[in-house]
């Protein structure tokens, strides 16, 4: 049965799009048929992170308005044949996305895919509310930083009240994904620890993605980090997280990059 997953956070810049692309690719690599859907109308970027920006013809709004068929708007990934992208529109019309339109597209996608991953825009406006509206599960992307944790808490409250599941008296299954984590800074007490964040948010942990230069490198070349450098620390962390989403139980660890003692002394990271 298809699962609709929203990747959300409230706060911007914490890694929603990076995580959507990386988790989508990892789930597709594991054999699932996956579509990643960009809900950031007016500021689409998932196409760029996926390396499909020059192949966008139709978008989510075109489909909801009946201008294009779903099949025309879906873009198949060039690396993985069971990974697809439904891009957002670049329109400046904030009201272009409607509840009814989203409901119909999600229902349609459910019949065609195993995983429908909705990349939420930042904030708590219409786009973010519609991205979570029909979700079965939610990945709340959180940085170990006070403003991100606060916004995640707010979003958790909305997942528990504003979604279709919540309105039916059911629960959206929630997972916290901690990104940009620096274990050495956390060990020195300079950064909120995993335990601190989980205790505050009272939500189960999906994975810990270490701060890494590989993430920027992957976005530079337009590939999900799980595909661009599968052996890198963030790629391994995302792959583990994807397997947990599939129901596997995998011991939680923070994959680390190898940093030599001299570099650590000099405050440098391995290139």
């Amino acid at each position: 049965m298809a699962k609709v997953l929203v990747v959300t956070s409230g706060k911007g810049g914490v890694g929603k799009t990076t995580s959507t692309a990386a988790l989508g690719a990892a789930l597709a690599q594991a054999g699932g048929k996956v579509v990643v859907v960009d809900f950031d109308v007016g500021l689409r970027n998932l196409d760029l992170i996926m390396g499909a920006e020059r192949r966008v013809v139709f978008d989510l709004i075109n489909v909801t308005q009946g201008v294009a068929k779903l099949q025309q708007a879906l873009i198949r990934d060039k690396r993985l044949e069971n990974l697809w992208l439904l891009p957002a529109s670049q329109t400046r019309d904030k009201d272009a996305l409607t509840d009814d339109g989203v409901r119909r597209v999600i229902a349609d996608l459910r019949t065609k895919f195993d995983w429908v991953i909705c990349d939420s825009p930042a904030g708590i406006e219409r786009g973010a509310m519609l991205a979570m509206r029909y979700a079965d599960e939610a990945v709340i992307v959180t940085n170990p930083e006070v403003s991100s944790v606060r916004d995640s808490d707010r979003i958790i409250g909305m997942l528990d009240s504003k979604t279709v599941k919540a309105e039916k008296g059911e629960q959206v299954k929630k997972h916290v994904l901690i990104t940009r984590y620096d274990s050495s800074r956390a060990a020195r007490g300079e950064m909120l620890s995993i335990d601190d964040i989980l205790e505050i948010l009272a939500t189960p942990l999906l994975g810990i993605i270490p701060e890494s230069q590989d993430v920027l490198r992957a976005s530079n070349v337009g590939a999900p980090v799980t595909l661009s450098n599968a052996a890198s620390a963030p790629a391994r962390a995302y792959t583990d997280a994807a397997r947990r989403l599939m129901g596997e139980s995998i011991a939680m660890s923070v994959p680390t990059e190898r940093v030599s003692f001299m570099n650590r002394l000099l405050g440098r990271r391995a290139a």
């Binding site: 800074r185 601190d196 505050i200 002394l265």
Partner: protein, 94 residues
């Protein structure tokens, strides 16, 4: 270099515990507001209706405040009654 060496060997407590405590207090407050929209408005209205059954009072002189702490919250109700009360409340107060 010296700075990094110092950091490497110092056991100085970082700023994370401060972040954690600030978040816990703030979120306890914000969650309370979320789960009980306009609780104070309702309380104020009902308290006002109960009191005015017995005493005529100025609705603006009823102030209801709530202070949410980490483990205990307090509700402060400040009602200014007019002088020269008669009847059961005055009797009970004396």
């Amino acid at each position: 270099m010296t700075m990094n060496l110092w950091r490497l060997f110092s056991s100085r407590k970082g700023s994370a515990p401060v972040a954690r405590e600030r978040l816990q207090i703030l979120l306890a407050h914000e969650r309370g507001l979320r789960s009980q929209p306009d609780l104070l408005g309702k309380l104020r209205e009902e308290i006002l209706s109960v009191i005015s059954r017995h005493v005529s009072l100025d609705p603006d002189k009823v102030v209801v405040k709530m202070d949410r702490g980490k483990s205990v919250s307090t509700l402060e109700v400040d009602i200014e009654l007019p002088n020269g009360l008669e009847g059961p409340i005055a009797a009970a107060a004396s």
